[in-house]
Amino acid sequence: MSAFKPVLTEHIHQEDCHTLSFYKSVGGYTALEKVLKMIPAEVTQEVKDSNLRGRGGAGFPAGVKWGFIPKDTDKPKYLINNADESEPGTFKDRLLMNKAPHQMLEGMIIAAYAIGCHTSFIYIRGEFYKEFKLLEKAVAEAYKDNILGQSILGSTYNLDVVIHRGAGAYICGEETGLIESLEGKRGWPRIKPPFPAIEGYLQSPTIVNNVETLSCVPHIINRGASWFKSIGPEKGPGPRLFCLSGRVNNPGIFEEAMGISLKDLIFDRAGGIPDGKKLKAVFPGGSSSAILTAEEALDVNMDFDELVEKKTMLGSAGVIVMDETVDMVQACLNIARFYAHESCGQCTPCREGTAWLVKMLTRLVNGGGTPNDIDMIFEITDNIGGLIDFSMGSFGKTICPFGEAVAWPVRSFVEKFKDEFLAYLPREKVVA
């Protein structure tokens, strides 16, 4: 395999890389020109052939998703660009919006064309105010240049893009919660079926794609599905933005081929662990993924399927590194607290279970734990999120995957670092 050359972030270090003129100077919007001469089904097929999988967290094949849009409907179709990046340890979409907004816009227009959509939304996280202003400018530039609006680039295709700012809820990054929020309602995820591709925004067919997913699309069109598939593992190929944070010397975003080893990411790209400390554990894909022990982490490639085999997931590729100084019980409580705070409160297990976990872990940390608590944590997490069994397809006990997102990491902490939890128990109780 030849050395990987960045695709999505190729130009981010150049001045004014966010402007339309710059983007055009490096071949921007040529993919769009090409697409406007294709029939939409061909575009979908090309993306399907590329095996592009969603970069938001679930890793669902983008082309397949587009294919779910009903062919014989009179309803308008919508494309929503999910820019509500809120997974702890993940900050890649923010970079793409900052540095390459037109790359993302081009991807959006192509996707919208493929599914026959004429109104598209960017649902951007409320806290990303700078990026919001930047996107507003980019969209205005695109309108001015006839890249958006009526008869795009002289074709018969029309598309409007609306930017909508979220109000800072983690759950609004879940696609149906996002759609509810976009409709002006409370961000409570919807029960499925119906799936958004059939009944989404305003009960019309809707596709929700992540910023990074859409940013890949122009490159697939320009260089072909087989080029894309040649990068990394065939079943989950392409360039990927890995976010390294936590106890590393050189935290940041690294664009690499899918399937790079986690060891390389941590010790080569991110420069290893400061002060010569030892690696202890890693979240491979944001805080919703089950943690890997140092041993597991050094022996795994960042590939969708391989991580599933390790009973965790690639998720949003937000790698959070913990070294030997990290107190795993405190870290676990921190994670549990985040999810209790962000639970939307709709489903019983998630609403009640997350708060129970926090109360129990807090008591444990404060020295009031009992040996029984450890077993209870397993039971509570299983009752919220179910056991990890990807072979059965979907797995949770709640409407949306939030239940799993809290259950898996918390469970993995206790499972893999049980001794540390036991050490928090008052001495006499351990003996008894």
Binding site: I191, C347, T348, W356, K397, I399
Partner: protein, 528 residues
Amino acid sequence: MPLLKIDDKEFQVESGSTVLETAESNGIEIPHYCYHPALEVVGSCRMCLVQVEGMGKLQVSCNTFVGDVPPDRKVDGKYDMVVHTQNDLVVQERKNILEFLLLNHPLDCPVCDQAGECYLQDYSFKFGNAHSRFEEDKRVRPNEYLGSQIVINQNRCILCSRCVRFTQEISGTSELFVEARGYNSKIAVLEDNPLDNLLAGNVADICPVGALLSTDYIHKNRIWNMEQKPSVCQDCSVGCNVDIFSQKNQIFRLTARENQDVNGYFMCDIGRYGFHRFEEIERVSQPMARNGKSFDVLDWEEAIQKTADLIEKSKDKTAGIVSPFHTNESNYLLGLMMKDTLGTLPPITREEITYPSGFRISADRSPNLRGMNDVCGHLEEDFSSIIKTRDIRGLYILDDGVDRELDDTWKDILAKMDFIIVQSYAMTELAKSAHIVLPGLAPFEREGTITNDKGHIQWLRPSLVTIGDSKPDWEILMLVINALDKDSEHFTDLGEVIKNMSDHFSSYSDVSLFKIGAQGMALNGKSA
């Protein structure tokens, strides 16, 4: 039609029906909280989880639709879906959900009004654990007023969101919403938009636990002390089906009873709290005759004889006044007696209200205007001119107990009369001006049929015991008719009156109490 197997039973079901609906209508219990047949499915309580063969995780049965599957995907070669509601996985999951629901629930059943009709109590008993594993502090919150007549006990709330969806979808008023997030979520209203619409009382009915309470009923009684009797609301011509809860002949509350042909699942607060009207009413419980400015108490025999004598004296100059508040049978018999020289008391009308869900409060606030018109052959529209032209000197009034302000026309009419006989359960203005007062029954004591404004005929059944010497109104009329004409037919029960009535009016030809039953029937087989 798809073939569905639930546990060991097979069902041919309509394509697109849900597992929960099918189970419910076939007597298989699947516990649920957030699902309500009148409201949008949200699937959030997770109580109705069942196992569907071929699906990896448990499915919420409220949102699992049964449809035809291709032959190669049929389970066991013939089923389109196979569902388990009793296996270990499902039984355990119910325990888990109930455990979560009870974490912060106060378990104050001994002082909770819902006890005895509480789904949290019932399901915990049937499906839950015997003890709690929760060792932390429970969340404690104060009670709050959501509207002038609805209080919420936040501690008992399980956030099924039925009430929120009710105000969004049924009343369309959207006062209720969920405030805050996650564990801190609670049902709330905005200060300047309290839950004070006329359907507000329904939220207490549909609350599956004791969270939403009607201030009218709070701490008044226990469900097991009361008698529950099916009845029909008589506060407007929609005729909502209700259940009346009473103890020792005192009504404590009304709740809506399902009837898809009439009111769906709900009722309005006018009817719900309307029964209090009768608590303060001055009842007439004995036959009375005027003696100067006061009344003498009579026994029934005397009273009937006196009535008959008065009418006999000026037979052609006596008119009857029927009422849209009385049953078809009473009105019909008065029509027979007066040979259709009939008028009616002024109607009671208010604003007509229709909610987005189609739920309606009729402008006509009497229960039986249509029925009265149907079974009284000829009602004089311009009654006051008839009085003049026919020189009417006596009136037999079937009074409805509504305390009307009588206008000058009516006052003139009454002043002109030689005698006025009033059949009433209450000492109304009319009764006070009567020469003879015959004590009939109050609305919830009556039995008979009433016809709503859409032509749906319903059976009004007695919910309370008769007070004093009062007699059913149709029986009093029967006695008077028999006293006037010794050869007239004597009907010994209501069924005979209905039979006779149905012989006279073709639109009522197939009406019988048996056919009406608990859900009523449409006249001529269809509601207009």
